[in-house]
């Protein structure tokens, strides 16, 4: 076994976090490292947590970590925050709510910035999950950015997706619009002591009924989580959430859906890898030679159209390489 692989598999946080960073920064050597690690991945159970900003995703994640640790499960968390499109900087603030686990060696929280990715995750999320899998984390929680866009990339990475809603935010409609109804395996109605809770629950239940007319397969349960500040009741609800997620996991295995999802995940990984191995190097090269700019100029002045340009690039790069 390669020494890096050995160390990461033994749970070395420093190396793991550095490798995740190399992936984020798209260093060429990162791909090689992931190749070596890949054989040791795929054994963790991956939970996605998504929902609008302010829905309380980080607080739920924090509580889930605590519940899982009680069962001696090791946990990895990837928390995604938005990159400012103006400055390229980001404030990664999700971990604030998880800091009480900072000293627990069984918990590894790593923040990621979106860096322009639009699907609610970061380009590095997939490989960052691989790194945490190789570290042997039993459970990996991926918290999406939650800016309320089309955050559905998570289904390509997670086994179970938890969608978090809050009463009184017009979430029901947002949820449908954003396609979150289709991706949810478990719903959480968070802050369920607020006005509008009953309405949200009713609407959600009726939407779910409509969606599952045939009544077969998994029926996404709704977990009502009250005020995080009533420690007893809150802990009970988190335990219920954890149970529902576990039931879903079992269902995936027993129904054979897990293999379906793994297939989907593999397809997505191929897609990402193709983009990383074919597209990105080409764009990089074009940018470095200045060709990219001159193509843009041509398109801008309508001397060429983007499709013709793309075909020309393809001819020059891929076909030529084929012949080699």
């Amino acid at each position: 076994m390669d020494s890096l692989v050995k160390k990461i598999c033994a749970g070395d946080v420093r190396l793991a976090s550095r490798l995740i960073r190399d992936i984020e920064d798209k260093l060429p050597e990162a791909k090689a490292k992931i190749k070596k690690l890949y054989a040791y991945t795929g054994k963790s159970f991956i939970i996605g947590i998504t929902g609008a900003p302010g829905a309380g995703k980080s607080t739920l994640t924090d509580a889930l970590i605590a519940a899982l640790r009680k069962k001696n499960k090791t946990v990895g968390v990837l928390a995604v925050d938005p990159t400012s499109p103006f400055t390229g900087g980001a404030i990664l603030g999700d971990r604030i709510r998880m800091q009480r686990h900072a000293e627990d060696a069984g918990v590894f929280v790593r923040s990621l910035a979106t860096r322009g990715a639009l699907g609610g995750l970061s380009h590095a999320a997939g490989d960052a999950i691989h790194v945490m899998e190789a570290m042997g984390k039993d459970i990996i929680i991926v918290e999406t950015v939650g800016i309320g866009q089309q955050e559905i990339d998570i289904i390509n990475h997670a086994h179970s997706v938890v969608v978090v809603l809050v009463p009184g935010m017009g979430d029901e409609i947002q949820t449908m619009k954003a396609g979150l109804m289709e991706i949810a395996d478990v719903f959480v109605v968070n802050k369920a002591n607020r006005p509008g809770t009953n309405q949200l629950q009713t609407e959600l239940a009726s939407m779910l009924n409509l969606a599952s007319k045939n009544g077969k397969g998994w029926q996404p349960p709704i977990v009502m989580v009250g005020d995080a500040f009533e420690p007893g009741a809150f802990a009970e609800k988190i335990a219920e959430l954890e149970r529902k997620i576990e039931e879903h996991h079992k269902y995936l295995i027993e129904s054979g859906k897990l293999t379906e999802r793994m297939h989907r995940k593999a397809m997505a990984e191929i897609n990402d890898a193709l983009s990383a191995c074919l597209l990105e190097p080409v764009i990089q090269k074009l940018a470095s030679t200045g060709e990219l700019d001159s193509f843009a100029e041509k398109i801008k002045s309508r001397k060429a159209d983007p499709y013709t340009v793309a075909e020309e690039i393809a001819k020059n790069y891929f076909i030529r390489q084929d012949k080699k």
Binding site: G54, G93, R97, Q99, R100, K191, P195, F229, E230, P231
Partner: protein, 560 residues
């Protein structure tokens, strides 16, 4: 305010002429800035005229001191009857160290005490907690048990001097210690007077000294209000504070609005939870404002606050007792306006800010010492700060007449403008379902963070000036002697605490902690049980740990 038609016409005509003159002059001599604004970035006009206050109804909106709407003061006689209380915030090292400083201040003419606790005490940890590492006695006095507290008030006549205690999450415990100390010294609770800050909402909003979540925090506060109304009638059980909101970077209007909205929240909670009639407790609510460097803005803020609170209490809560309508407030000059650079300049800033507080009609005043931006105040620095108040009170004549700036076109107009803007905030928070709900949404926190960020940018851009920081910078620094709290103080404090733990009756401690736990679970008033527990030498943290266990712990949500 009424102006005769003749006066108004003359004013309009003259103003028009003046404006023409200005336009002509501007062509050759442009103004120094394109926009003039307060430190809070409120735009200020070139000139205020009768037109700006013509709409004011004198009887309804201004009136006289001692009468609704109390714009001009609560007391009919203002400072001619009695000056504000000279109350210097102080606390350092051990209880004995602080006691010495208190006696010195009283000797030098201070008229009320004000306690600064160290961070472990403020957060409800004992001095030997790992969380207290490096903090014991540093920012104030370390108090773990009633024995420390008795040493703190040694030789202080508790029936004569009023004491303010800046304490929030563990306010029940420290107040219980004060009550127990009085009992031990044979002073009836009905005779002691003072203030506990006990304002948790502003902690969630601004200062971040928190322990339990908002809802149970407010419950504990209502316990103190109820206990005070019944047993300690001279005590101000909440000091609803804008000070820290301002220090966290808010504007003056935000300070005004969030503070008053916090006050509304507390009143609502006591009425709802304790079923007390508003007039039974409202007179014991006090306030605490910041006096920042923008002179007129501060005066107007304080005047507006008085008028707004009177309206709130009368119209919103139907209070009948005039004292319920009074907004009585303590003021501290703005710590965040002081500079570490050229520290002697801080004396000047503090003087201006203190003057604003006096013209704004404060009931009590702390003037910052020139070294407070660097360390705890030295004896010499604190003496200058106290003398500043004494000079303002007794030499300058500013206290000769009540509310001397009333009727000024500018002052009345700015007072109105700030009030209007503050009402907008209050309505917005009402619509969110109140302050607790707004805090959970992060609304006030984000408004303040945005204001702080904006100010910092203005400072970096040189649009706002801090002398010695971004203008008139010099390498030629006059250094000042700094007070240092020795590490040994922490060690000694921990030793004392361990001795007490050994010698006390641990069964009695356990029983009184169990009593507090059961009381919390039942939702009854914790105060009598806290007094019992501290008398049995339960430590501050032991009691606070019970709160944490029953109510849960609040963590910084770190909103951006």
């Amino acid at each position: 305010m009424y102006f005769s038609d003749k006066t108004r016409k003359a004013s309009l005509r003259l103003t028009e002429e003046w404006e023409k003159d200005v336009q002509t002059s501007l062509k050759d001599n442009p103004e120094q800035k394109t926009r003039f604004s307060t430190v809070s970035d409120m735009e200020i006009k070139r000139l205020y005229t009768p037109e700006d206050i013509h709409g004011i109804n004198f009887e309804k909106d201004v009136g006289v001191p001692g009468k609704f709407p109390y714009l001009r003061g609560n007391q009919a006689t203002g400072y001619r009857g009695r000056y504000w209380t000279f109350r210097m915030f102080s606390g350092m090292g051990s209880a004995q160290d602080t006691n010495r400083r208190w006696h010195m201040l009283l000797r030098e003419g201070q008229t009320g005490l004000s306690t600064a606790f160290d961070f472990p005490t403020l957060m409800g940890y004992d001095s030997d907690s790992p969380k207290a590492l490096g903090e014991v006695g540093k920012c104030g006095v370390a108090i773990d048990t009633l024995e420390d507290f008795l040493a703190l008030v040694e030789g202080i006549p508790l029936d004569e001097v009023t004491t303010s205690m800046t304490i929030n999450p563990p306010a029940t415990v420290l107040w219980a210690m004060y009550c127990a100390a009085a009992q031990i010294k044979g002073v009836p609770l009905a005779k002691i007077g003072g203030t506990i800050q006990n304002d948790m909402l502003k902690e969630f909003i601004a200062q971040k000294t928190f322990m339990c979540p908002p809802e149970p925090s407010v419950k504990l506060i209502s316990d103190t209000v109820e206990f005070g109304a019944e047993h300690v009638p001279r005590w101000n059980t909440i000091s609803i504070s804008g000070y820290h909101i301002r220090e966290a970077g808010s504007t003056a209007v935000q300070e005004l609005a969030f503070t008053l909205r916090d006050g509304i929240e507390y009143v609502e909670d006591v009425i709802r939870r304790k079923k007390l009639p508003v007039d039974d407790f409202a007179a014991r609510l006090s306030f605490f404002f910041n006096s920042h460097i923008d002179f007129f803005e501060e005066i107007c803020k304080m005047r507006a606050a008085r008028r707004m609170w009177a309206k709130i209490m009368r119209n919103r809560f139907g209070a009948k007792n005039p004292r319920s309508l009074w907004l009585r407030f303590h003021t501290q000059t703005a710590g965040c306006s002081l500079t570490a650079q050229q520290p002697y300049n801080n004396v000047v800033r503090t003087t201006i800010e203190a003057l604003a507080a006096i013209l704004g009609g404060t009931q009590s005043l702390h003037t910052n010492s020139l070294d407070e931006v660097l360390c705890l105040p030295s004896e010499h620095a604190v003496e200058i700060a106290l003398r500043t108040q004494q000079i303002l009170a007794e030499e300058t004549g500013v206290a000769n007449t009540i509310d001397p700036l009333a009727g000024s076109y500018f002052i009345e107009s700015l007072t109105n403008e700030m009030e209007e803007k503050a009402w907008e905030y209050i309505e917005k928070i009402d619509a969110m379902g109140g302050m607790v709900a707004a805090i959970e949404k992060g609304f006030p926190q984000m408004e303040i963070a945005d204001a702080a960020y904006k100010f910092q940018h203005q400072l970096e851009a040189g649009e706002k000036i801090m002398v010695g920081v971004n203008k008139y910078v010099t390498d030629n620094q006059h250094t000042i002697p700094l007070v240092e709290i020795e590490e040994r103080i922490g060690e000694e404090q921990i030793k004392r605490l361990k001795d007490i733990r050994r010698k006390r009756d641990s069964r009695a401690v356990k029983k009184s902690l169990d009593d507090i736990r059961n009381t919390c679970k039942k939702g009854d008033n914790v105060m009598p049980y806290c007094i019992e527990a501290v008398r049995n030498l339960a430590t501050l943290q032991e009691i606070c740990d019970v709160y944490r266990e029953v109510y849960g712990e609040y963590k910084d949500p770190g909103l951006f």
